[in-house]
């Protein structure tokens, strides 16, 4: 191979490597994750996101304004008809409710389940609260309608899929919103202690 040919080969190899690295960088959100939820967690770690000011409807028809001020809130998204991930989320929030009371965090850390399902009427929300044992001073459930629903799903990066076997399916997680109404972190559903640790740390920051 001539000297010119060798230079061309090196240049072609470098160009190929640069293009390959750029494409992989794009696909993995800057080499941070290979899944949608992984990229969401990585993004939030470096760039918290403001939770939109929206109004939710509770089972008794009252309006609940988001974000909840003066409390760190652990938020999950549910449909009362979901019999897949929502059951796992429910178990995690039950454990969180117990830990919040045991550790004296009532009033500082709150739990909020947001229903995205338009069919979740007052009766269904009440049924959800009763079967999971929601203590109103810690854990509330409310429904998001219309624009509020769209804004929240967008901000929290929730993707909903219709499942013929299990009602609605969505990417489940425990989202931590700080006292200033910023979505700061996301934990896997089973990571109850991690979620509570993050929430507790946020209650201690001035």
């Amino acid at each position: 191979m001539s000297e010119r040919g060798a230079w061309r080969a090196v240049a072609g190899g470098c160009a190929s490597l640069v293009a390959a690295v750029a494409a992989l960088w794009w696909a993995t959100a800057g080499f941070s994750a290979i899944t949608y939820d992984g990229a969401k967690a990585a993004r939030l770690a470096s760039r918290p996101r403001a939770v939109p000011r929206v109004r939710l409807v509770t089972a008794d028809g009252a309006v609940l304004a988001l974000p909840l001020r003066e409390q760190v809130t652990i938020v999950d998204f549910v449909s009362t008809s979901c019999v897949a991930v929502c059951l796992a989320q429910g178990a995690s929030l039950q454990a969180l409710q117990r830990l919040i009371r045991e550790r004296g965090l009532v009033g500082r850390v709150a739990l909020l389940s947001v229903s995205f399902d338009p069919d979740d009427d007052a009766g269904r929300l009440d049924g959800f609260a009763a079967t999971r044992g929601l203590a109103p001073d810690i854990w509330r459930i409310a429904r998001a309608d219309g624009d509020a629903r769209r804004a929240l799903l967008d901000t929290f990066d929730i993707r909903i899929v219709r499942d013929p076997l299990a009602g609605w399916r969505h990417n489940a997680a425990l989202h931590i919103v700080d006292r200033d109404g910023a979505l700061r972190a996301v934990h896997e559903v089973a990571d109850v202690r991690g979620a509570l640790r993050t929430a507790t740390q946020l209650t201690e920051t001035p």
């Binding site: 190899g13 696909a27 993707r159 899929v161």
Partner: protein, 191 residues
């Protein structure tokens, strides 16, 4: 096949990628993980490969000066193939038109790069690439099939399991597509 028939076939094959870009076709292909991974992406890669095959010899000669042995092109093709199979990209394609366009461009680029590098790579290079791709496809397929959770936010577990099984089958098909002609050739001229 007559020259006229072969001409018609060439035109149809060349125009085929445009059909894949039609919004209803794209929406149908991306409605399930199985169709996106096992049908849409391989078809777009094949379209890129076909374009490379249609380009004149002079173009191939010019490119191979920058791509001796097809190494640079195959590295790029393997990387782009990995990119379009990333769960995050499969998800993004379902809700972002821009991400979908980039994904399709990567798949097409993968086909062009592989098509332009295949002959220069020779049998050892081809064997190395086919062996690695088949292994990666099969491993990804088994992982997708057995993973207890959904890896894509847009698709359900059942769909994920079928896509995983399909990837394992694709690994076998790709290996056979390359291996069978090599064995035939070898049998025809054992030396």
């Amino acid at each position: 096949m007559s020259a006229a028939r072969s001409g018609v076939l060439r035109v149809l094959l060349t125009a085929f990628p445009a059909v894949l870009l039609l919004p209803p076709v794209r929406a149908w292909l991306e409605a399930t993980m199985t169709r996106q991974m096992l049908l849409q992406i391989p078809l777009v890669i094949a379209a890129g490969w076909w374009l490379a095959a249609l380009l004149p010899r002079a173009w191939h000669r010019r490119v191979s000066a920058w791509n001796p042995g097809g190494v640079a092109g195959l590295v790029l093709a393997v990387a782009l193939g990995g990119v379009v199979m990333t769960p995050r990209v499969l998800d993004a394609a379902t809700y972002s038109a821009g991400a979908d366009a980039l994904k399709l461009a990567c798949a097409f680029g993968c086909g062009v790069a592989a098509g332009a590098s295949w002959r220069p790579a020779g049998i050892p290079g081809q064997a190395f690439v086919v062996g690695n791709i088949a292994w990666m496809l099969a491993a990804s397929g088994v992982l997708l099939r057995d993973w207890p959770q959904r890896v894509c936010a847009a698709y359900l577990e059942q769909d994920q399991r079928i896509a995983g099984t399909g990837l394992v089958l694709w690994a076998l098909v790709l290996s056979a597509l390359w291996l069978v002609p090599q064995l035939r050739r070898r049998r025809a001229s054992p030396l």
